[in-house]
């Protein structure tokens, strides 16, 4: 008789909804089924209704954690159609933005992983160290997560170089903190006992499921788009691909923690070597054709496919986020484990359902208004003000109402 334990859709394991149906014997999981569809809205269709200039802004909202990933990668795909070389300064800026994003994403994962195994201290520490990263991101791009920087052919705005000394100081502090955190996590015997041998994904399975990113690298596959198909400033900087062969949750943690160090180094080098020059290839016309963009997101290889029909809007935008291929590998890595381990394994590949399900927004059939990012901000502030008025209160200063 099959007993199915349902985890989700609204379950404290995940910030986002998804259902896992665990068929269990005692606490041992003998089969696992994933039910998605709670977030699916479908952005691919909407992208076909936006100009090439607007799509990156839209794609930033596929996922809040790797927002730059999707917008930069869309640019990669279009630049693939164009056969365009991006100006060096723009490549370096993309590198800085991307690596900062990787740092905050990895720290976020370490924290959440701690939270999932009830290790609140790790959660708090990791997220404490994540805050300065977001500060740096804000100092450099003007926003904590959504930078709105990438643009086909380069980046939209330059980085404020007067902020660099401050950022460097923060990076130096972060370096020590990350080292401490890495040491604390890797040397903890209880943690090692809890995580080793859990959720093992062998190299063969990893290849068959086509997993990417830290999930694949922890299983011994040295796949990293930054090295495989060098883009941005990576070929000119000094860093290395981290791999582990165990394939278990501990290995995934090790890979991410060691990558943190590499990423900090990358940001530092990119800021050091940031060349002068234009940040943008100028106005572009995209001809008919198709292009594939690849980008190493914090969670692994991100693939965008863009088909252009010569107009100023793409004909088809296909987004494949890393979680989309990482999540199905649960079937291989979870079966035979206990419920506790399965939840941990689920967390270990850092699933991101927003990315996985994307959104499918349809063209404005009634010719209604389109809302840009600044409109969103304006609308949001108006609403806050209205609510404040309704409550008969002065607007809160924290809301930065201009």
């Amino acid at each position: 008789m099959a007993h199915v334990i349902r985890i989700g859709p609204y379950h404290p394991l995940q910030e986002e909804p998804a259902s896992f149906l665990l068929t269990v014997e005692g606490e041992r999981v003998i089969d696992i089924d994933v039910q998605l569809g709670y977030i699916h809205k479908g952005l691919e269709r909407l992208a076909e209704q936006r100009t090439y200039d607007m799509v990156p802004l839209l794609l930033e909202r596929i996922c809040g954690i790797c927002s730059a990933t999707h917008s930069i990668n869309f640019c990669h795909a279009v630049e693939d159609i164009l056969g365009l070389a991006v100006p060096p300064r723009a490549r370096y800026i993309r590198t800085i933005v991307g690596e900062l994003e990787r740092i905050h994403s990895h720290l976020l994962w370490v924290g959440l992983a701690g939270h999932f195994i009830g290790y609140e201290t790790v959660f708090m520490w990791a997220w404490k160290y994540r805050e300065p990263v977001l500060d740096m991101y804000e100092q450099l791009t003007g926003h904590r997560q959504n930078s709105a920087l990438p643009q086909v052919g380069g980046v939209r705005r330059d980085l404020p170089e007067q902020a660099f000394p401050e950022v460097r100081r923060t990076l130096d502090a972060l370096d020590g903190q990350v080292e401490m955190l890495t040491g604390a996590v890797l040397d903890d015997p209880v943690l090692a006992a809890r995580l080793s041998g859990v959720g093992v994904l062998t190299a063969e399975q990893a290849l068959a499921y086509g997993v990417v990113g830290p999930t694949a690298r922890a299983s011994g596959l040295a796949t990293d788009v930054r090295a495989d198909e060098p883009y941005a400033a990576y070929p000119e900087l000094d860093w290395k691909v981290i791999t582990r062969s165990e394939g278990d949750v501990f290995a995934k943690a090790v890979v991410r923690l060691l990558e943190l160090k590499e990423s900090i180094g990358l940001v530092r080098q990119a800021m050091e070597k940031l060349p002068p020059g234009p940040i943008n290839a100028g106005p572009l016309h995209v001809p008919r054709g198709e292009g594939i963009g690849r980008y190493e997101a914090p969670r692994g290889e991100d693939v965008h496919y863009v088909r252009s029909n010569g107009t100023n809007m793409p004909e088809r935008v296909k987004v494949r986020a890393p979680s989309y291929v990482n999540i199905p590998s649960f079937r291989a890595s979870c079966i035979g484990q206990t419920i506790s381990d399965v939840t941990l394994t689920l967390a270990a590949c850092d699933p991101c359902y927003s990315c996985t399900e994307r959104m499918a927004v349809v063209r404005d059939a009634g010719g209604g208004s389109e809302i840009t990012f600044s409109d969103l901000v304006r609308l949001g502030r108006e609403k806050t003000l209205r609510i404040a008025r309704e409550l008969g209160r002065k607007p809160d200063l924290d809301l930065e109402i201009g």
């Binding site: 334990i5 394991l13 195994i117 609140e120 201290t121 404490k128 209880v190 943690l191 809890r194 419920i339």
Partner: protein, 321 residues
């Protein structure tokens, strides 16, 4: 008749329900505050545990249709009552309050198990499968820690000391008897066997309180608060009150059995308080520096190293060390 009134006072006011709850809330706040400080946070205000319970008591109670309604509603009350009884017995012994005793060590051990049992039965009868997983884990955890805990207690019970020519043995299941014994020959914890047993018992109490790393029965990230998942409003409030009582009662039990209870002298109260606080601090340190383990790991730990340690203590106690 006089005893009845006295017992009622002991049970309801001091050192039972009211007093222990107050101490428990304070200790819980201290626990949360200390944990927050370890995490570079400020943590909640001192009255937070009280507010939490007060709020919950005012909230609606939700009962799933398939649950065993009467039991589901009644069990938290039983849990509270049992915890209050255990607290009364433990504190009375620790403070050496001289009223006809109601029960002793064995009774305390059994009554202490009732709150966990009530939660377990409540989770099992709610009809929620995740609750059932939580109940099964809770039961397995009890199975796991009860063995070393019992051995550790037995080590205290069978302590022997040589006073001059005479061999004195505690050999009693009476709490006040143990206190008397320790007054006579010194704290049990002062000897190797007692110390070992105390360490084991401390770990078991950690599990009894459901603290990380042994909180798998309520693992929110795995089974959505597990055994507590269906309890809401006032029922949850009662369970939290129960938890507060246990927080204040278990360290006192440890101090009473292994560490001589409270000396009835000027500084005795302060020393006693320090002992209790030390135990709470150890609990906080353990829970802040470890991840939740799997239930089978917990069982292996308690039936393996912990039991072994306790048995060594027992051997030492047998040889008089």
């Amino acid at each position: 008749m006089g005893h009845v009134i006295e017992h009622m006072f002991l049970f309801l006011v001091f050192p039972g329900l009211l007093f222990t709850a107050a101490v428990g809330f304070l200790l819980q706040w201290g626990d949360r505050r200390l944990a927050a400080m370890l995490q570079w946070r400020v943590g909640p205000p001192p009255a937070q545990p009280v507010w939490d319970v007060a709020k919950l008591l005012g909230k609606e109670v939700i009962v799933p249709e398939q649950a065993w309604r009467r039991g589901f509603l009644a069990l938290p009350f039983v849990a509270l009552s049992a915890a209050a009884l255990a607290a009364t017995l433990i504190w009375s012994a620790a403070l050496q309050i001289d009223v006809a005793p109601v029960g002793d060590l064995i009774v305390v051990l059994y009554v202490l198990a009732i709150p966990a049992l009530a939660v377990m039965l409540g989770a099992a009868c709610s009809g929620n499968p995740l609750g059932a997983v939580g109940a099964s884990r809770e039961m397995k955890l009890i199975l796991a820690y009860e063995l070393p805990f019992v051995i550790a207690i037995v080590v205290a019970v069978f302590q022997r000391r040589t006073l001059g020519e005479e061999v004195v043995s505690a050999s009693t299941l009476s709490l006040s008897g143990l206190v008397e014994f320790q007054k006579e020959v010194g704290a049990i914890i002062a000897r190797p066997s007692g110390l070992l047993a105390f360490i084991v018992a401390l770990l078991c109490c950690h599990a009894k309180l459901g603290l990380v790393p042994f909180d798998m029965a309520e693992a929110e990230c795995e089974i959505g608060e597990g055994a507590h998942i269906e309890f809401s409003g006032a029922l949850l409030g009662l369970l939290r009150l129960t938890r507060a009582l246990l927080t204040a009662a278990l360290p006192v039990l440890l101090v009473t059995v292994f560490w001589g209870g409270m000396e009835q002298s000027a500084g005795g109260g302060a020393v006693f308080l320090l002992k209790v606080l030390l135990i709470v601090v150890i609990h906080v340190l353990i829970r802040s520096t470890s991840p939740r383990v799997r239930i089978d790991q917990a069982m292996r730990f308690f039936w393996g190293p912990a039991t072994l340690l306790a048995l060594i203590a027992l051997l030492l106690a047998g040889s008089g060390a």
